[in-house]
């Protein structure tokens, strides 16, 4: 993959205004989630006894209102976003590392190794994943680490399939032959010649994995088997909001809007990246 492909991809992406807007929005949300809570007047678990369940924009300082305990909803949403993003990034990294290594080795080795490794992927793939994630949370207790491991345990499967397909094609190319002639061992060929050339599809698929992980984590947290109070996640904030929607609909609207914004931006950016990095379309 030459640098001109990356240049062309960057040019295509910059031309895509909506994709750039999504990238900017995600950067803004990321910064807000990381440093936002420090800049605001309230802490995420601080109770403002004078202002319980106030609607947005009614009391200065509580821009998005407060929940029934008088905790500032803006700070809590940023905090939930931070937890959700942290888990999504970590689980995506886990699935990226396992998936790329697994797929690259299977594709490079071919033959029986490949058949065995990919059969294992097929078998795990046929399991109803969400339900096994639930079993894992029951077994290992509810908390961020379990969620991370449980989602990571299944997240790498698709990545492994994509990478294997690419590796099968790549290994027939001349530069791999040149590397073999040059005396490079299999480990070096996989690490230095195959994996770097897989970056395009890997980046695209990682961008599309992130929103999926956010959705699964929020789904579990919504059900009460994911992130637990007092830690906030977008999922348990939405569950709180759903319980109070009759009297305090903003408690549902604020975290739900935040979640949809993040998921939409990641999905859209991922689709645009795919279009930009796919040379077939040009």
């Amino acid at each position: 993959m030459s640098s001109s492909l990356w240049d062309a991809a960057r040019a295509a992406l910059v031309r895509d205004r909506l994709a750039m807007a999504c990238a900017a929005m995600l950067a803004l949300l990321l910064v807000a989630a990381v440093i936002g809570p420090q800049l605001l007047d309230y802490r995420e678990d601080e109770i403002d006894w004078a202002h319980m369940a106030v609607p947005p924009f009614e009391v200065p300082g509580h821009w998005f209102g407060t929940d029934r305990l008088g905790r500032d909803l803006f700070v809590r949403t940023l905090h939930g976003l931070r937890v959700s993003l942290a888990i999504a990034l970590a689980a995506t990294m886990v699935s990226l590392v396992i998936g790329v290594a697994w797929g690259a080795i299977a594709g490079f080795r071919r033959g029986r190794t490949d058949a065995l490794m990919m059969r294992f992927v097929d078998v795990l793939y046929s399991l109803p994943q969400v339900f096994f994630v639930i079993i894992l949370t029951v077994v290992f207790g509810r908390g961020p680490l379990t969620i991370l491991v449980a989602i990571g345990a299944f997240g790498w499967l698709t990545m492994a399939r994509i990478v294997r397909g690419q590796a099968l094609v790549l290994r027939e190319r001349e530069f791999i032959e040149a590397a073999i002639v040059g005396g490079a061992g299999p480990a070096r060929i996989v690490a230095r010649h195959i994996v770097p050339n897989l970056l395009g599809p890997v980046i695209v698929f990682s961008t599309l994995t992130l929103p999926q992980v956010i959705l699964v984590e929020s789904f579990l947290s919504f059900l009460g088997i994911g992130i637990q109070e007092p830690l906030a996640s977008l999922g348990n904030l939405i569950a709180d909001g759903a319980a109070e929607m009759e009297t305090a609909p903003w408690m549902l609207a604020v975290p739900a809007a935040c979640l949809m914004l993040v998921v939409f931006c990641f999905n859209f950016l991922g689709d645009s990246l795919r279009d930009a990095l796919d040379p077939r379309d040009r």
Partner: protein, 312 residues
Amino acid sequence: MSTSAFVLRRLLGAIPTLALVVALSFLLTRLAPGGPFDEEQALPPEIRANLEAAYGLDQPTYVQFGRYVQGLLRGDFGPSFRFRDFTVGELIADGLPVSLALGAAAILLGLALGIPAGIWAALSRGGAADRLVMALAVAGISVPVFVVAPLLALVFGIWLQWLPVAGWVPGRPSDLVLPVVALALPLIAFVARLMRGSLLEVMRAPWIRAARARGLRERTVIMRHALPAALLPVVSYAGPAAAAVLAGSLVVETLFGLPGMGRHLVQGALNRDYTLVMGMVIVYAALVIVLNLIADIAYARLDPCIRREGRS
């Protein structure tokens, strides 16, 4: 009889998957630190030993596994450790009809609205209808069930008061309207997008041009020639769709207070009721496997390539 051979082969292929589900869920729950009676305070050792003997927990793991599998073959999922008065089998029998009705209605609604919407969008490609359907579809895909369901309850249940927000009276179908719609919306969106893309692709195929060249009416070309082929991706999506609907039913049953399997599973997970969670997961897995099987068979009947392969 090529199709029946294909069906048989797929049926036999589903058995190892189900066996793996049973073995994995059993082993995972045995990995759990502590036993099911740890949370009860001050349980005298004799009583504890009696309880464990009564549930067979004093036996080695492989004996327990053997007993569990034997029980499963007889339809016995063992006792629930938290709902002491019920067996897991009774809780499943109790919830399965509700969950099945909910899931089947959602999938049917998803197909019944998603397929025509996708066709409509494809036929008016680039036009206003296309853009409207696709914008709605993108929104529908980005909004998860656990956001759609509370919003529907808020708007139609609480503000407009058209439909009940929670509860379940047997024989009152209005209770099911909001849950089914909440489950079906993401499905409609996904099916519409899939249908549009696949129909557009099929319409470019040479045999569609051939059908037009034979002077067939556009309507016949689309209905008789393009649609059966364009439906294939939708059919193969039915398996994943079923898995998604079942996962979504956990949210919907919990939120709307429906007495289905999903609510029992969530309760079981919250209470760390291992046998209950295990039994429910096995039933859900079996449902997903069966639905995948049905989708595969439908696919084989529609796809001439597989039919021919089976005959040769």
